[in-house]
Amino acid sequence: MLILQVLINGILIGGLYGCVAVGFSLVWGVSNIINLSHGIFIMLGAYITFWLFTLFHIDPFLSIPISAAILFLVGYLVQKFLLNYVVGYTQQSGFGVFLSLILTFGLARVLENLMVGIWSGDWRSVTTTYSGLSLHLAGVSIPYIRIAVFGVALFSAGLLSIFLYRSRAGMAIRAITFNTVGAQIVGIELDRIYNITFALGAALAGIAGSLVSLIYSFSPFLSTPYLSWAFVIVVMGGLGSIYGAIAGGILLGIIESVASVYVGPGYQQAIGFIILVLLLVFRPQGLFGKKFLK
């Protein structure tokens, strides 16, 4: 039954990985910004849930919309007042494209420092009354909380997809990825759409952060692993693809959990990175072929 347990663990945690990567992938795919502060946004979401839980005793699952809303606002402001001043370079050759990356790295350090100031560098976790309960089925035990986290992760990716296909702003976002110049000709304001895109990406990071806080311990300095998962998954699933990110997340979850049991827990991450490099070299369009947004 071990293999079944390993697979289920991998799939359930993979949903969360997908949620971690979706916002990152969206921003990168639409505005060509590699957001190195995505990991910090996730930690911020985790701390918002932590605070609401310990100070006001709000159930962690109910705090998810709140952390999404706060991060949406943060993301909007960051794009409007910082990133929009460098995205003009992304069209140029050379390392113009890297300026947004360096800028978000600097921003991440500022936010990290702020978070240490507010919440200190201690490890925190959110433990509810139902944290320890699990479902026992055919020799496999599954914590309820992981099922719920998996559900919320898929649900939020679904919401994003509906937004992109049904709302005017969502259609404008997709139009930009099809043809930036054409979209501007028909009257889409590039900077406004970039603001919304980045805000959406941050909001998804907030959701992912709230979910992370339910499963793992966290500290302001723990943002890097989430960022590297996001990188691996985006390359797996294809740039800007929502379903690709979720599928890539689940695949990575399965690979990691199988590798940690059958190869050794130390090699878990190494395998993820080796896959990343191999994919980039041999299949840069992602495992699932075409880019979903395009």
Partner: protein, 320 residues
């Protein structure tokens, strides 16, 4: 021509000052400057690829780690003298970059940056798990057979010569056909190919040279600190730091990366000692401001004769 002579003269005076500096300064300052020279070497080494070809090797720290570990392991297990171990360490990095470079340098822009990051992280995890590196326990190198003050001077001049060496190499490359080929690749890779430049060859060569010097710096670092472990020598933060130094000073210039190294290291030392709790934030804020106002670096700002209008022009140019 006069401008050029003035620059060479300034450069000479600076080198002389740095040669005499350690005989006047305390050990604290010698150690600080050794660190600056290390980052100067790293930044200049990466500048060889990044500055001329526009490819950003985010995971170049992997060569720092390999150089450090190779030097350490050959000294400990095989009993090699330091200098032979050091040169071997650098050469291993050269070969590694050469082998890996052929597939990886087919990638462009972001994708190359991420692939190098992936390689660096994968090697770090492997180094943590294999026996020969003693994993997370780290590696204790043999002590330097010198008394304290002499060992400070030894590493000061060792790092200093590494920095000078890599700077000369960069200067030579910039005047050489390799440099011209790389610049052609930066402005238009397909165009460069169509006029008969063997683009993969030059990119791989530039990366391998930059790997050699990065490995040297890693080897010296290992002997200098006496203790290395995977999280400290494969830290992606080191990469990010020297890439920021390159951008800050001016990518593709000879003096820029060194200026960046001096600025960031001195600044972070000051901020670190004065405002311990916000030092990360201050550094981050400076990075943000530099990217917005001065994306082409100090050297560019100097060439613009420090005009504030040019700074504001940058803000307009970057805006959509």
């Amino acid at each position: 021509m006069i401008e050029k002579r003035k620059n060479i003269l300034l450069f000479g005076i600076l080198i002389l000052a740095l040669v005499f500096f350690p005989f006047l300064a305390t050990n604290y300052w010698i150690r600080l400057f050794t660190g600056i020279f290390m980052y100067g070497t790293l930044a200049q080494a990466t500048n060889i690829l990044m500055g001329f070809s526009g490819l950003v090797p985010f995971g170049n720290v992997v060569f720092f780690g390999i150089g450090a570990y190779f030097t350490g392991i050959t000294m400990l297990s095989l009993g090699f003298p330091f200098f032979i171990a050091l040169i071997l360490g650098g050469s291993v990095c050269f070969v590694f970059a050469f082998v890996v470079g052929h597939p990886v340098l087919k990638l462009k822009g972001h994708y190359f940056a991420i692939a190098t990051m992936g390689i660096s992280e994968a090697i770090k995890q492997i180094a943590t798990n294999v026996k020969i590196t003693r994993g997370g326990m780290g590696l204790n190198l043999p002590l330097v057979p010198l008394e304290v003050n002499a060992s400070y001077l030894f590493f000061y001049f060792l790092m200093f010569s590494a920095m000078i060496l890599v700077t000369i190499a960069t200067f030579w490359i910039s005047k050489n056909r390799v440099g011209y080929a790389l610049r052609a690749i930066m402005s238009n890779e397909d165009g460069a190919k169509s006029i008969g430049i063997n683009t993969p060859h030059y990119k791989v060569l530039a990366w391998a040279i930059s790997a050699f010097f990065t490995g040297l710096a890693g080897g010296i670092f290992a002997y200098w600190y006496g203790y290395i472990d995977p999280p400290s020598v494969f830290d992606i933060g080191i990469s990010v730091r020297f890439i920021i130094m390159i951008l800050l000073g001016g990518a593709g210039t000879i003096i820029g990366p060194l200026l960046g190294a001096f600025f960031i290291e001195l600044l972070s030392e000051t901020v670190w000692s004065q405002f311990l709790f916000i030092h990360l934030g201050v550094l981050g804020a400076i990075i943000v401001l530099v990217v917005i106002f001065m994306p082409k670096g100090f050297v560019w700002f100097y060439r613009q004769k420090f005009s504030l209008e040019a700074l504001m022009e940058n803000v307009r140019k970057g805006k959509l």
